[in-house]
Symmetry: C2
Subunit: 397 residues, 2 copies
């Protein structure tokens, strides 16, 4: 019966994270495994008010079928914010509203990827992107990232041995590692990609959540005609509406709109109107500042606790924003095995494996700090430190 | 620069209907071109009440990320309705909530279609399905439908010369033709497909909108393990939320959930909660009855007007439900040319071409009766009758 399936659906990784989340339903468990924004900041009352407003203002218009491109006032809002916050000129014709940025990944795979096309992925890289693109069977070329950004030497070698059509990158506070590309690194990456005409997919769901350091230049500025941008309201307003967007050059946008039509006609008009109303009636920058402050405090609390409770041979990244940091255990220590021990001690995280195109028993792990308060972070990291020591002792014996 | 694109995106038909809809923005134009449900029946106040209720009852829970499968109470509701209305046992594990049934088509293409796989399509067939499946480059085998259902002889011949993996069908009040498969026709189709193990995709967005005749047996009853069902709230409640569902056997459902995750993680949790609340607090059967009555009256008004104003050599279908009927002009008369003449006289429809996998200048056209009141239908059909006569005279001269 298995022959009924398309080849593309074989070997698409199941979301390991969703499996892990089942463990965390136990209330005694401290979870650094989630990838969720902190619900304390969901603007429930404001959204309720915006919803009332939208019912009042648009009536039945919000309930009918709508355009595939998205709600024009929302597209204008996004265009204006690119201008004021990033100095980028993005006409609304180049903006498509999607069901979260995840749908942007799927549409790009659909429109751009033939089987076997080369695609550079960050290593470690965003699980959801690996999953979405896997459907279209590209040849993945993983290039390692470090605290400065992409490994330039390895990128150069990869570009020499292949001619990848696309590169997928989360240059700000990457998921899973929390790292950001430095200005210098962005310049070098852009120079290399310019010569090979590789298109850059710049996914920036966390960009607004910077709690340290200086804002960096978008690849859109460095490689204007080669860059596609993805954005999302999931991390700054709410995830449950499933609203994101993509920005692409005109020729690609035309095809993306056809793919969007074929995929689901259009994104819910109702939720687009509500979020637009919310963004118009509230000070979103103030709102984001509050999130930034708390995530920054929680990140610092996690780093301090790690410094206290983890063995010194565990290294961690120092994020300037976002929701995650990344720990590397001593060589040979399996994060999957650590997960088992830690779960017994009521603390969980995501072992690194699913963030690689092809690797098992990696010695890395993702720690989320957006959803756990400072006191709990301290307790959880203490437990995790003990678990690491237990595993190290076990490995020695 | 065109080489950037994936092969699959070439030749995917653009939605011709969306182009046509631009003409109809002129208020003097009577449009039989739309495919929209009648907004008079959108339950605005009830949905507003349900939305308030949902904010009250679930608070921030409706705003967080959720499960790919969909909101469980809504899946239970769908399961129960299959039981009470159709006598079908559909466990919720076999139900996936999608962004309208259009997304169901896309996910099925993704999970089931390899390039070149055989797929039987009704001729004429649903444009959105042709578009969605085209992305996955199957080999389409169009089989004509008539007032009794599928042409059995031609289906038999098609099955002999190929072994199609899938058949796509809208057996109730088909879009675009308005025809329904008779009981006898369904039996014969099912018998043939059982022998070839072809999977049936039964799309049933209009099933509830029967205004004449008897309810017919689902392919799910006739071919339980070979049938996938698609459903939608777009035609009975509202389209703007983009909510539909699919029912599939367990092994296929597992892959569909992975494809759904990769496509957009999950459908908006917020709108799922609202529609569930609406369905729980209102008498939906009574609501649907009202829609049925009006669509039935409008369909009869259209048929009566056609009888009065169209030349006798134009034939039309007699729908028992749904939103469309289908007219066939005398052989050699182009519906595209008729469109030009009719648009000048301020009446529009959809020429048949986009409903065929590969045909131009067909002599057929789709007429929508859901959105135009009886008096306007009479005026519009009179105008259209005159346009047909004008074109016939032109063709003769």
């Amino acid at each position: 019966m298995d022959s009924i399936f398309a080849d593309r659906i074989h070997d698409v990784p199941k979301s390991f994270i969703r499996e892990i989340l089942k463990v965390t339903l136990n209330r005694d468990v401290i979870s650094f495994a989630g990838g969720l924004p902190n619900r304390d900041f969901f603007p429930l009352q404001e959204l309720k008010k915006s919803t009332d407003h939208v019912f009042e203002k648009y009536g039945k218009d919000i309930l009918q079928y709508s355009t595939s491109e998205g709600f024009n006032p929302l597209r204008h809002y996004i265009s204006n914010r690119y201008k004021s916050n990033d100095g980028l000129e993005v006409p609304i014709e180049n903006i498509l509203i999607t069901n979260g940025s995840q749908q942007g990944l799927d549409l790009l795979g659909k429109v751009l990827l033939n089987r076997g096309d080369g695609m550079i992925m960050e290593e470690p890289g965003y699980l959801g992107a690996i999953q979405a693109f896997s459907m279209y069977k590209p040849e993945f070329y993983p290039v390692p990232v470090n605290e400065k950004g992409m490994d330039i030497q390895l990128l150069k070698e990869t570009l020499l041995k292949s001619s990848p059509k696309l590169m997928y990158t989360v240059p700000n506070f990457q998921n899973p590692s929390g790292i950001s590309y430095s200005e210098d690194n962005r310049q070098k990456v852009a120079e290399l990609l310019q010569s090979t005409k590789t298109m850059v997919i710049e996914d920036n769901p966390y960009g607004d959540l910077r709690f340290m350091g200086e804002k960096k230049t978008s690849f859109k500025t460095l490689l204007p005609s080669q860059t596609i941008m993805l954005g999302s309201f999931s991390k700054t307003v709410i995830p449950g509406f499933r609203l994101g967007w993509m920005v692409a050059p005109e020729n690609i946008m035309q095809k993306l709109i056809i793919a969007k039509q074929a995929s689901d006609l259009h994104t819910s008009h109702f939720t687009q109107c509500i979020i637009y109303q919310y963004l118009s009636n509230n000070n979103i920058e103030e709102h984001i500042n509050k999130i930034r402050d708390v995530y920054g405090r929680q990140c610092r609390a996690m780093l301090t606790a790690i410094d206290t409770y983890f063995p010194k041979d565990v290294s961690v990244t120092k994020p300037e924003g976002g929701m995650f940091l990344w720990a590397t255990l001593p060589t040979g220590m399996s994060a999957l095995k650590l997960f088992e021990i830690a779960a017994e001690d009521n603390v969980v995280f995501v072992p690194g494996d699913p963030f690689y195109v092809n690797r098992t028993n990696s010695n890395t792990m993702r720690l989320n700090f957006s959803c756990v308060d400072e006191a709990t972070i301290k307790i959880g990291i203490e437990r995790l430190g003990k678990a690491i020591k237990k595993l190290a002792a076990k490995n020695k014996s």
